[in-house]
Symmetry: C2
Subunit: 493 residues, 2 copies
């Protein structure tokens, strides 16, 4: 799912896509080739895996029956295809493989995905735009070791990638670690060494663990949410699928990530050596370039260093040592965060999709000494009809949360104050969105209140739970056309 702020439209990619009625099927020949390679009817469809708004264009890629392709479409008329290019290295072949992609303002596409049919060649790949295409070194487990890509962000000089992968830096059995990787946006690759390959790729481990004499690690990053104004990243982490289910939310400052990238590397001389810290030859590296002789515009990293120093020694630590929120016997799959102006302060509300199809609404800790509160658990479906949540999108401007499931999108208004009928219920809900308006004598949002001084809100402790409230949500309407003032087609809403 993505949102077109210009048209105020939600764009949803579904199987053999339907975008403003723009159907995007795979052709029978491609499907046939897919079947002939042993894939099933279900796999040999066109699963939309990239959906990026880029100015007045929509860039979208689909698995297209294990033959990924991408199209550029007019945002206001999604049936209008400007060009169609190969989806290789931009979109996975296999609909089950994770990938992430972004387009920078200068038009480069950064994608992290499996690059081949079998999924054994993962890469962070740059293409399109005006800069040379670059990738991570192929079949080199020190660069990427069976990664699962989670998210990517364009921040200042760098593009950041969040993923999990098999740890390489220890010998105590196979373990997955969570990572943040980054590359310089002005990287043009190496000369003779690292040709067509990043010279600025580095990665660091993200730590999210329950502290203790022997910390309990939530090793596997599943989702992130970045708040650019605060330079703060929320991550959801779980245990391995083979372990007992447990999840945690940790928040990381961008400065902590930079701190790790500015520090020493972790380096193993050879397979008989231990992994040891190695001083960073370019501390506080900000993608500076050198212009001398044949090395015009190369970044100032030494190419030998760029080839051998990939992993940072220091682990990125979260804002506080204890995770913001932890829960056993559940796996969180998606996260979205809203920043809410309460009566006294700003609150962070964390929305967590659970693996059994509900949404947890959690109040982030107010300071380093308090804990988080579970405010409510939103049931999306009638009992015994729960579905897997496939995407979660928050629209801060409209205070709405969109939850994508297999065949529908559920819209949840985030401000639902009017359901609290009494002052006790309103204030007792400890919901930062709501307060009791003493003049109107009803539960309102801050904007709806007559006067802030007469608007009562008390978020000092967690609400008493075990109360089921009918959310009063309506049924989801059927897909309908949008009408545009500027012509163009229609979109599902």
């Amino acid at each position: 799912m993505t949102f077109d702020p210009g048209q105020n439209e939600l764009i949803v990619g579904t199987v053999c896509v339907c975008l403003q009625e723009a159907e995007w099927h795979c052709d029978e020949f491609t499907k046939g080739a897919c079947f002939s390679r042993g894939k099933s009817e279900e796999e040999c469809q066109n699963y939309i895996r990239v959906l990026l708004v880029n100015g007045n264009r929509l860039f979208t890629c689909g698995t297209n029956a294990f033959t990924p392709i991408c199209t550029n479409r007019t945002l206001t008329n999604l049936t209008e295809i400007h060009d169609q290019i190969s989806g290789m290295a931009r979109c996975p072949y296999n609909p089950l493989h994770n990938s992430t992609a972004l387009i920078t303002s200068s038009g480069e596409l950064y994608a992290a995905t499996a690059m081949d049919f079998s999924g054994r060649d993962p890469a962070i790949y740059r293409s399109l735009g005006g800069l040379p295409p670059l990738r991570t070194a192929q079949y080199n487990s020190k660069w990427l070791n069976e990664p699962n890509f989670v998210s990517s962000y364009d921040i200042a000089n760098f593009t950041y990638f969040f993923f999990r992968e098999n740890a390489v830096e220890h010998d105590c059995g196979r373990t997955v670690f969570s990572r943040v990787g980054r590359v310089c946006k002005n990287d043009i690759g190496g000369r003779f060494l690292l040709e067509d390959t990043w010279t600025t790729f580095m990665k660091a481990r993200l730590n999210c663990s329950r502290p203790g004499e022997i910390p309990f690690n939530y090793n596997e990053l599943q989702g992130t949410f970045y708040l650019p104004e605060l330079e703060l990243l929320y991550g959801i982490f779980t245990t391995n699928v083979n372990s007992i289910a447990a999840s945690a939310v940790c928040a990381f400052n961008l400065s902590a990530i930079s701190h790790s990238f500015n520090g020493p590397f972790k380096y193993q001389e050879n397979s008989r050596s231990a992994w040891l810290p190695y001083p960073n030859p370019n501390p506080d590296f900000q993608c500076g370039t050198i212009d001398s002789g044949t090395y015009v515009n190369l970044t100032e990293r030494n190419l030998q260093d760029a080839q051998k120093f990939l992993l940072m020694h220091e682990v990125v630590q979260p804002v506080v040592p204890v995770p913001y929120f932890m829960e056993d016997n559940v796996r969180f799959s998606h996260v979205a965060v809203d920043v809410v102006q309460g009566k006294d302060t700003l609150f962070h509300i964390i929305y967590l999709a659970t693996d059994y199809g509900t949404i947890r609404k959690v109040l982030s800790p107010l300071n380093q000494s308090t804990g988080s509160c579970l405010l409510e658990e939103i049931e999306l479906f009638p009992p015994r009809k729960r579905q897997v949540i496939r995407s979660l999108l928050i629209l801060h401007s409209r205070s709405e949360l969109y939850v994508g499931v297999r065949d529908q999108v559920i819209k949840i208004p985030l401000k639902r104050c009017s359901y609290h009928k009494s002052r006790e219920a309103c204030v007792g809900a400890r919901d930062p969105y709501c307060g009791w308006d003493m003049l109107l004598k009803k539960c309102t949002t801050l904007e709806e209140s007559v006067r802030m001084s007469q608007w009562e809100q008390s978020i000092s402790k967690c609400p008493v739970r075990n109360v089921t409230v009918d959310g009063g949500f309506g049924h989801w309407s059927s897909w309908s056309m949008c009408s545009h003032s500027d012509g163009g087609g229609s979109a599902g809403s």
Copy 2:
């Protein structure tokens, strides 16, 4: 708890011990010294931690207000003390520290315990008997790294110790590993090198994990039970206390343990090197000795090797890759195993003490392809009055299980067939102890049955559970005297 087969008496060590009415208090001076070092009233008692039957003697040690002492008593008259020696290196100072000890037939005491007041000097220590006292190297984390000792066994040429300790052989954060260690009983220590120190100490990791792409490890050994006839060791393993509670039962053949000890060592040249396998200079080492010149009776291990090769490279694998029994959200603390003759075959019944004070009765898998069955959970206490289980002792000869709690011992008869009143209930319980006697028309043990061919038992699948049965256990009687035909005192029964 221990059992005196000669007198058919159960001997129970309690605080300020009461053994056949033999009270063993700490004196006021010792208690005062204990208080003056900052210990509490509760800590400054005499906790019996060693209780070993040795011929017609009972060897027992107590923490004695952080001044451990040991006594040798006449088994038939526990008030008769033959000698009293220091408990140092035989019994922990701190009642909370784990220890284990055994006496061999030739009279040596092998103890694994913390050797000092602070508990920072753990050792496996041999004393008494006719051989020189020996210990593991002091303050050397490659020998023992903050161990918790679990159990010890005297098997053939070796004494085996089971424990858990902080792993040294990796650099991926602090982790506890489970170990089996062994020493040769004929070890007399080194000359010049390793004086008064074992020259035959080796240890290996015990693996108990849920298999998978990334195995889930039950790292921490909590209890063992050895079946000497089968050379089979049952171990109970849990996750770390800081992790989500989970427990598993794994069984190991002695041959698998020997296999690891006969294979390569795991060795780290220096702190900048990786841990690598190193060929075993003495494969199939059976405690052979050399008799040449000054090295009379030294074991044939080279002393330099004995100092640097301590850890085996190969992990001891259980009988089958999947644990015999696994359960989440519970920690097992003690285990006992009974081997039961059923109608068609021998069955292993595993009794597991849970951390919340119940006993699980589990049928061990019959072969490599079947799983285990939870046969029943025995509630020892009325609701909300559960107590921590401190010891578990099985008497195969009497088919009784003894459960020690803070102030009492609970006796559970293992064969309780008469509680099943119908044929359906009897056969449906899938209890290897019981079958339906078609002649007597009642549920009986195999011994009680009239004719084996008319005794019906069907242990092909697990019983249907969720049925609460009143075990019909009586109240525990008050402590009473035993009368001995051969004179002597009295024991709690």
